[in-house]
Each structure stands twice: as structure tokens, then as C-alpha cells.
Symmetry: C2
Subunit: 342 residues, 2 copies
């Protein structure tokens, strides 16, 4: 016999509190004693309580404000801006307000952030390069607040909707392009090694070497941050010796900007003395001197798709697909050329 | 005799509707007939009705979500990102959610945006490079929703709180630096001529010439957009002839990036053949090749100060000052040098 879903009344009876008290906890209200709140949360979790979706406002001028929470593990770069623009392309016409949060480099939001989200009851939550632990997932689930992970940092459970892009392919086509130009000594300066997209891009770099029957020098594979400073630091070292690479694959466009500055300090011209491939295809790259060859990661499309998925889930409908990777492709500009010494 | 402030009951009696109906209009609810809504709005405006501040939630875990609306006339650049970071430095610790809106290049929000703001009842509204008309100002005022204008596009009424920076001084010190290096033929590629900050920067450019007893060539003063594309387009033209300038003052760092690319196309090296000064001091400028000499506009501080001002107003208190310009200063890096032909 299938057990019927627990109602708020069932939860209240079990914990020994009133129905309005359970309701207050569900709505993130402050006027509930902490001990009571914890007991109610535990009962909600035990019963896998989920608020009926139909009880939530979805009309375009309903009294509750229509909000969507957008969370970045770090927000201060052009990469984040592209995703925001993609989200706004969907939320704007739908008159949904986008609430922005930055986690200051953390990959998991603090509990007080979850409390605030439960209090403002958004239509959904979009997490960029960050995830939720099981308790946090359940807390949103019990409030019928759907969430989608964009460009996942780790490997979330299969029931978590995700939008990403084909990072392995990006690393592969970038490296294949350099090998095709005749480069045999290629460096890579990547983001953090504990972020899945970094590892996939470096695996693509390796596979392109294997595919061409070429070895690669492990000393030329560097892990760092997705920042100009990290690109500068690693490139300055890598370009110092006589065994320097003739080309570098950068883990992001920001990293490529740092590499360009290190090349300049070493008196190396791009692309005559050093080829550089970036990653992301931020709008600024076409204005760089020289314009940057880079891997297009469709960040705006990823943001739009994730926002669309959230609004569909918020209406209680099921999106046609909930685990999507968009395709990456190489954009060839002027920062790559055959090596001088072929 | 001072006339007593109208109450909701007075407004309701005058219009001939119920008190809850007036309340619904004030709270941006949808379930009021349009004709009634207009009559209520007119009565509110006539009486300069203002909701008592004390009736609004300000506690850190009150039931209404604590939000702050942040509106950009255009949001897709690093400049906006700096302001967002400044706002979040204040809103984060206060656990206030930041709702982001872009106006797609318009300087005045559409009425439906105001309707949505009234429905979500934020603690306050921060308008960047945009303003409100008298009706919109009154609508927010009657709901006791304070607003602050950051880097005003026009000249708002004196009772509107504003945060800006000293644009005239920025134009003056940038130009003085170039004149001091020995440049006598200096171009300027600015943003739109109908934006106050553009005009103030160009006036500073002129005054620096006057101050040094030097003439300037009006043909070298160009108005455009604050974008790389605009910098590229104007610089390509300006650098084409034999009467080209030896230095260009860019209206923004984005404009400077476009100028650098045009210089490269003309085979001109920076700073050997052309000096360039940017404006804003975005984090990316120190990583440019060469690192950019630029005017520091304290965008983060401006964002923080405006957010702080809003939260103070939301508590019904008066900020110590409500018309503030922060100081700009020159940051000298490697994109400026004496002209080759002194």
C-alpha cells in the first residue's frame, strides 16, 4: 500500500504544534522558537514533505513578487555578466525579478542564505558553479522551490537538473587547432583542478595529443585560477626557459589576458613568437590586440536555457530535458599562427 | 493652519472606494479595476500621500523579503559589475537581496517596471545612469520606497539623493598628465554628448588646455558610446591622416581597448607612437598590454555609499549627506609616454 503524502496538519500533529507554526517554518518566518523550528524541519524531512505547487502564485500580477534567485560562487567577472544577460533575456519579458547573490568564492551557500531564500520564496534558484548539500536540497524541495545547477562544479545527483557545455570538446578543438598549425610543444594554464570543467578541458587537451600520436610534457600542464593574475604568474614561469612552449591553451579568456602580458614582458610577440587560445569567447576578446582565438562557450544561451527550465519547473511542468550540455566551438582570430621554428 | 496628512481612509472616502481597495493599489495588487486604480493614484498624488515608514518591515528576519532594486540603463559591461560588487558589500552582511534590472539602454524605466517594484516593495531603489519622471517619483514616494540615483544621467531635482564622482576633475587630470608629458595634439573619444558625465569630462579636457595656455583642435573631440566599438571606429579615423594626435584621452576603459586595436591596425605602438589614457580603472586595465594609464572612478565605493544611503532612508532616518561626489584620480601605468617627436 502506498503511503499517502503527509499534509501540514499531519506534520503539526506529529510534532505537537499548531498548523500555523508549521506554515511559518515553511515560509521562513522569524517568530518561531529555534528548538521548535528544528523539530518541524526534521519532521518535514522525514516525511519528504513537499508543498503543493498549485498553492504558489504564478500569475503575472499576483500579489507575491515573482523572483528568481541567481547565485554565483564568484561574481566579479565578465563571465558572470554573460550568464546574467542570458537569464534576463528570459526573466525580463516574464517580469520576473532576478535576485543576485555572490558566495565570495565558496562552492556551497551558507545556511543563512537558504533561510533568506525560503523567506523570499522565489519561483526558483539557479546555482552557478556551486551546489547544495542534501539538507539544503531537501529544504528547497519541501518549499516547492525548484533549482537548476549551471556549469556544475562537482557531480550532482542525477535528479538535479543541470545546464552545462561540452568542456572536453572545447579542450580538444583548441588543442587540435594548435597541433594543426604545427605546434609540438604546447602548454596549458587551467583553472582549479577540483572543478569538473577544468579537468574535462585538460582531458580534451590530452586526447588531442593522443589523437595526433604526439606526447605532451606534464610540466607544461598548470592548474591555477580562472583569473588574469593566474595566467600571468604561470606564463611568466613557463616562458622563462629555453624549453618554452610555442603555444599556450588558456583555461579562460581572463587567463589568456594574463598570458599576453607575461609574453610582452618576455619580449614575445603574439602570434609570431607565441600562439594563445582562450576559452569562453567573452565579447571583449574580439577587441583585444590581437583579437583572441578562443573557444566559444555559449554562456548567454546556457543562462537562458537554465532560466527557462526553472520557470517550467515552477509551473509544476517537466522540462523536455533536465541534463543538458550545449556545444562548444573554436573561434579562430589572430592570436594563433604556425610556430616560427617549424 | 497646517493641513493634516491624508490617511488611507481619507483617500478611500474621497474616491468612494473601500480602504482595502486603496491598500491594494498601494501594494501593486492586480485585482483592482484599471479605472479605479487610476482614480486612487490621482488622489494619492493630489494629497502627496506617503505611507508611514514605521509600517514597513525592517527586522532582519521579518516575514517580508528584504530586497533592494538595482537598475542599470545598460548592464552588460565590467563597469556595471563594479557597482554591483559595491552594493553587495553592504547588502550581503545586511542579508538584503539585490534585484537586478537592465533597461536595455533606456534612461527612464517603463511603467510596468514601476508596477513590479511596487508589488515587490523593496527597501529602496538604486538607479544607475537613469532617472524617474515626476509621476514615477511620486509613485515610489507614496509607497515610502526611497530611491537614490548613482552617476546621474541628467540633472535631477535637488531633493533626489545622488552619488556620483568628480568627472570634470577626471577629464582635467588625464589631460594635464598628457600635456605634462609634452603632448600638444591630443584627441578625446567620449561617450554620448547627452550624458552629463561625458560633458563634464570633456570640459575638464578643455580646461586643462586653457590652464596650460594651449589651444585644442575641435576636430579631435569626438562623441560616441562608452564601448570598444566606438573607440575603435573613431580612433581608426582619427589616426588615419598625417595630422594625427600623439595622444588620446578615452571616455572609458572600454573605449581605450577599442583605441588600442585601431592603433595596432595603423601599425602604431602604445606608448611609443601613441599615448592612451582610459577612464574608470576597471580591474582588467592593470592586465592590459601595456597596462593602462587611467582615471580611477571609485565605482565600488559609489555602489556601497548609495546602498548605505538607501538602507538609512529605509529606516526612516536621514543620511548625513544626500548629494555626494567622490573624488577621481589618475593612475599612471605604461600606456602613456612623451611623444616621439618633441
Amino acid at each position: 500500500m502506498v503511503k499517502a503524502r503527509a499534509t501540514i496538519a499531519d506534520i503539526a500533529a506529529e510534532v505537537g504544534v499548531s498548523v500555523p507554526t508549521v506554515s511559518k517554518v515553511l515560509n521562513g518566518r522569524a517568530d518561531v522558537a529555534e528548538a521548535t523550528r528544528i523539530r518541524v524541519e526534521q519532521a518535514l524531512s522525514r516525511h519528504e514533505y513537499r508543498k503543493p505547487v498549485s498553492s504558489r502564485p504564478t500569475g503575472s500580477r499576483a500579489s507575491a513578487p515573482r523572483l528568481l534567485d541567481l547565485v554565483f560562487h564568484e561574481g566579479d567577472n565578465l563571465w558572470a555578466q554573460e550568464i546574467i544577460n542570458g537569464v534576463e533575456r528570459i526573466s525580463g519579458p516574464e517580469r520576473v525579478g532576478v535576485v543576485l547573490s555572490g558566495l565570495g568564492g565558496q562552492h556551497r551557500p551558507p545556511q543563512e542564505w537558504i533561510d533568506d531564500v525560503m523567506a523570499r520564496r522565489p519561483l526558483g534558484v539557479l546555482l552557478v558553479l556551486s551546489g547544495l548539500d542534501a539538507t539544503q536540497r531537501h529544504q528547497l524541495h519541501s518549499r516547492a522551490i525548484p533549482f537548476v545547477v549551471l556549469d556544475t562544479q562537482g557531480n550532482p545527483p542525477t535528479d538535479v537538473p543541470t545546464v552545462g557545455s561540452n568542456n572536453w570538446n572545447g579542450g580538444f578543438v583548441a588543442t587540435q587547432h594548435l597541433i594543426g598549425l604545427g605546434h609540438r610543444r604546447i602548454g596549458v594554464i587551467m583553472g582549479p583542478s577540483d572543478v569538473l570543467c577544468s579537468r574535462a578541458r585538460v582531458d580534451g587537451f590530452r586526447s588531442a595529443h593522443d589523437d595526433a600520436g604526439l606526447p605532451f610534457d606534464p610540466a607544461l600542464v598548470r592548474w591555477g585560477e580562472f583569473t588574469p593574475g593566474s595566467g600571468f604568474h604561470h606564463a611568466r614561469e613557463m616562458l622563462a626557459g629555453p624549453a618554452r612552449p610555442t603555444a599556450i591553451f588558456a583555461g579562460s579568456d581572463d587567463v589568456a589576458i594574463g598570458i599576453a602580458r607575461a609574453a610582452r614582458e618576455h619580449g614575445l610577440r603574439i602570434p609570431e613568437d607565441l600562439s594563445v587560445v582562450g576559452y569562453d569567447n567573452l565579447p571583449i576578446t574580439e577587441w583585444m590586440s590581437p583579437p583572441l582565438t578562443t573557444v566559444n562557450q555559449p554562456l548567454r544561451e546556457m543562462g537562458s536555457l537554465a532560466a527557462q527550465m526553472l520557470l517550467t519547473l515552477a509551473e509544476g511542468r517537466t522540462p523536455s530535458s533536465t541534463r543538458v550540455d550545449l556545444m562548444t566551438e573554436l573561434v579562430v582570430r589572430d592570436s594563433t599562427a604556425p610556430p616560427a621554428t617549424v
